[in-house]
């Protein structure tokens, strides 16, 4: 009744749980650490650590970001450490972007260094 509607029949065992979301109207005054997948369209005033992270155009993180896979279309005020990083045209990073593989779209701003590390440099979990 008040529960979430049942999903259509499918093999749920292989379906990942819903990603954590920080919506545009949410401000988190804390670290967001330990999510599997995380979408940030709002503001996080603290560090972020997750396996895969999407930072939307309106997303803003005021702290360090650690991820295995990361796409940034918003703003990060802090260092970024990730295995694979994609910066979209509206991305803005004030900090160093440590990566094993990086894609930078024209228009993206990185106010910091872009050090390369061999694959596997990001600790899991």
């Amino acid at each position: 009744m008040l529960r979430a509607r049942k999903e259509p029949l499918e093999d749920r065992s292989t379906v990942a749980p819903a990603p954590a979301r920080v919506d545009a109207d949410l401000v988190v005054h804390a670290d967001v650490v330990g999510a599997l997948a995380l979408i940030v369209d709002g503001t996080v005033k603290g560090a972020v650590r997750a396996d895969s992270v999407l930072i939307g155009p309106r997303g803003r993180i005021e702290g360090r970001v650690d991820a295995r896979a990361l796409r940034i279309d918003g703003t990060v005020l802090g260092d970024v450490v990730a295995e694979t990083v994609a910066l979209g045209p509206t991305a803005r990073v004030v900090g160093n972007v440590t990566h094993s593989a990086i894609t930078v779209a024209p228009g993206a701003e990185i106010d910091g260094r872009r050090p390369w590390r061999p694959p596997g440099h990001v600790a899991r979990g």
């Binding site: 008040l2 990942a16 749980p17 819903a18 990603p19 954590a20 979301r21 920080v22 919506d23 545009a24 109207d25 949410l26 401000v27 988190v28 005054h29 804390a30 670290d31 967001v32 650490v33 330990g34 999510a35 599997l36 997948a37 995380l38 979408i39 709002g42 005033k45 603290g46 396996d51 895969s52 992270v53 999407l54 005021e62 295995r68 896979a69 990361l70 796409r71 295995e83 694979t84 990083v85 994609a86 094993s100 593989a101 990086i102 894609t103 930078v104 024209p106 993206a108 872009r114 390369w116 694959p119």
Partner: protein
């Protein structure tokens, strides 16, 4: 296309999975509405939303939102202020809400200030219930909101 890209290229790099494939699990949530603190997450600090928030994980801190749903396995240690509050999980702290629903799986320890209140059969509520004079959420959640001056200073 011919402008600034990494020397390491933007194609698949041997030994790496392409970033978009790695991001596939997170893409599934892109079109969802509202915020979600998922079950594996623990937040130590405050959450402040003008929209809809669902907590399935753990929050040690205060929550202010327009609507808040606390999932069955969720745990909140802190105060809650929202227009509509649906509790299915465990809450320790003061709940201030316009419409408050304490579901049959809920365990609430703390006072409840409400305009309308429902406690389903089986729901546990240990605390005092007080009727609020106002349904004005700005007033209801005033204590959990950061001060405007503080917000401005943060930028």
């Amino acid at each position: 296309m011919f402008t600034k890209t990494s020397q390491r290229g933007d194609g698949p790099v041997p030994g790496h999975e392409p970033v978009e494939r790695a991001l596939a699990p997170v893409r599934s949530g892109v079109n969802q509405a509202g915020s979600l603190i998922s079950a594996e997450l623990k937040i130590v600090g405050n959450l402040d939303s003008n929209g809809d928030l669902r907590v399935d994980g753990t929050v040690e801190g205060d929550i202010a939102s327009r609507s808040l749903t606390v999932g069955e396995g969720a745990r909140i240690d802190g105060s809650i202020a929202a227009e509509t509050v649906q509790i299915n999980g465990t809450v320790s702290g003061h709940i201030k809400g316009g419409s408050v629903i304490i579901a049959r799986t809920a365990r609430v320890t703390g006072d409840v200030t409400y305009v309308t209140l429902a406690v389903e059969e089986g729901g546990v509520l240990e605390g005092q219930c007080r009727r609020a004079e106002t349904n004005n959420v700005a007033k209801l959640r005033a204590p959990a909101m950061p001060k405007p001056a503080e917000q401005a200073a943060g930028h």
